[in-house]
Symmetry: C2
Subunit: 375 residues, 2 copies
Amino acid sequence: MARYLNYPVELLDRFCMEAFGRFGFTEEESRIITDVLLLSDLYGIESHGMQRLVRYHKCIEKGMIKVEAKPSVVFETPVSAVIDGNDGMGQLISHFAMNKAIEKAQKSGMGIVTVRNSNHFGIAGYYAKMACDKGLIGLACTNSEAIMVPTFGRMAMIGSNPIACCAPAEPYPFFFDASTCVVTRGKLEMYNKMGKPLPHGWALDKNGHDSTDAADVLKNIVAKNGGGIVPLGGSTETLGSHKGYGWGMVCELFSSILSMGMTSEKCMQGTKGGICHGFMAIDPAIFGSPEDIKAHFSAYLETLRESPKADGQDRIYTHGEKEHFAMEDRKKNGINVNENTVREMIDMAEYLHMDYKAYFGDFKAGETKMFSGNY
Amino acid sequence: MARYLNYPVELLDRFCMEAFGRFGFTEEESRIITDVLLLSDLYGIESHGMQRLVRYHKCIEKGMIKVEAKPSVVFETPVSAVIDGNDGMGQLISHFAMNKAIEKAQKSGMGIVTVRNSNHFGIAGYYAKMACDKGLIGLACTNSEAIMVPTFGRMAMIGSNPIACCAPAEPYPFFFDASTCVVTRGKLEMYNKMGKPLPHGWALDKNGHDSTDAADVLKNIVAKNGGGIVPLGGSTETLGSHKGYGWGMVCELFSSILSMGMTSEKCMQGTKGGICHGFMAIDPAIFGSPEDIKAHFSAYLETLRESPKADGQDRIYTHGEKEHFAMEDRKKNGINVNENTVREMIDMAEYLHMDYKAYFGDFKAGETKMFSGNY
């Protein structure tokens, strides 16, 4: 059973702001990075929040993420842009890129921006939501180091390749953010930290057989020994493996291919990240009345939520609903952080000469408030 | 074991041309409809080719598809259009709509078109390919009558909601066309015609439990008794049911929502089809050199095909490859048609006062060339 520690959102916010400031980011930059990471934890996407700090720490430490780098626009039209991230922090490059897509959508109706030479950007949904917050439809995707094994293959050749779509609706926006694998690598990292076996049908060992050993799968992915995570739809065509694999390829098309960047199987090697993203914003006004469209969508979402439930289920969720309630809960009750993640945060704090006890108390002596969770 | 009859492509082409002409379509219109249906059979997507003629026959007969109807543009900007299909033939409306998206992409870089009040349009991939044939990236999607049960639900509330993406590549284009359910209704229809039990994990009975009885599931879908097909990812969140369900919703957003048309749960009732589509064309030149982008994509696709194979597999396919070879094979060796489908074609021919023997010989006496298939 993994142990979780509960911290107020404000404490984690202050911790991240100080840490990224010490890495050399400006306050405005630290604000963006922190917001992306915290939204993930607030939304209940534990895999991409504090849990990921260790990766940013390590990538900055080894020079894969260049703190001073600024994105540059290498190609542009009234509806599009290609951005070179110049190996900077993925969140900052992506925030810049999505803002550009939004500006173009506000002027031309639609904007599409692709990015090369970036780094991990956190949750795709954050950027899709940026457009939605302005009344637009937002789409965002990214490739990553290869973790997805194509149908009938045994080597990871495609990233987790999430695609997110966010659109205005009441009482909460439609917010869909999903890797095109059956699960993300972050989920495997969480199971590894929790010491739990993986469910069947998630991952393959280096010989291409089903594996429940998170540590072994993660090790093999890093060492490029073979194996990895299966596409959404599994490893056989019967349940649609080729479909998840196809979505992974669509993500690759709109990130690495159209930006002429690195495809997933080449990313994150040595000190080169090379991650690529794609962003799109669409103004619903190019189809008529945004208010009518929003009302039409909201009514359909409500019809789905109200439709008959399966035996043993009392609720049908629409996308963004769980995230909405998770955020309400966490703002009030704090965020639960896995103790291994807290250890990583303390390591990072020590690396940055921060006073970690100001945030976590005497965590190492085990005196902090603590409870058992089973996420 | 289902029996299949083998016919040359030209014979099926002539048959469709005569049949649609007799329904009242012009030669140009019949050409488009026939091309859409035949591409499906040529590509090996048996579920959406000749197998579907019976549905068009029945929908025209009962007035759901209005032969004389022409699509009208109800809203337009330089990058977008909303089209009212006026209850016409889905293939004709969609051909018109995708051509409009292509024209806009050629002028403005991108074009997006949504359609309401249409009918079934065949395979989504046909329209995505129209853009690709002009050197553009094409996307197409459609809702349909409700067949997909949302995660934790027991009533079909969402269509099969396929999304297709086609993009230039060598030696064959990237062609991805997949319903967002685990399988299409057409697949269930095929299993029903073949008298085979469904694989586990495809469909739910009216109480929301796994079912292998194609006839029962199809009957319940039509009668709206409950049950239907599960999303890509199954019926539980563990294997990603919420992801397939989310993709189904994205399809709905870009078809019925943005066009202010009928959402899937309202489609195909009484004599109203109400099907909605979405089309997008993107000129790769808005990102730089189309030739460089195509070469970059082609190289990645080749890398995937050449990557190590799983135990017992000797080939990794990229999307569009199977379709390419299926077409080569069928153009040379003819198309295999399920005998039940041939019976439906003969019924239709008799309804249209066609001389079916000119096409199928004395099929009913069983004298034609015949073989057993196991598709």
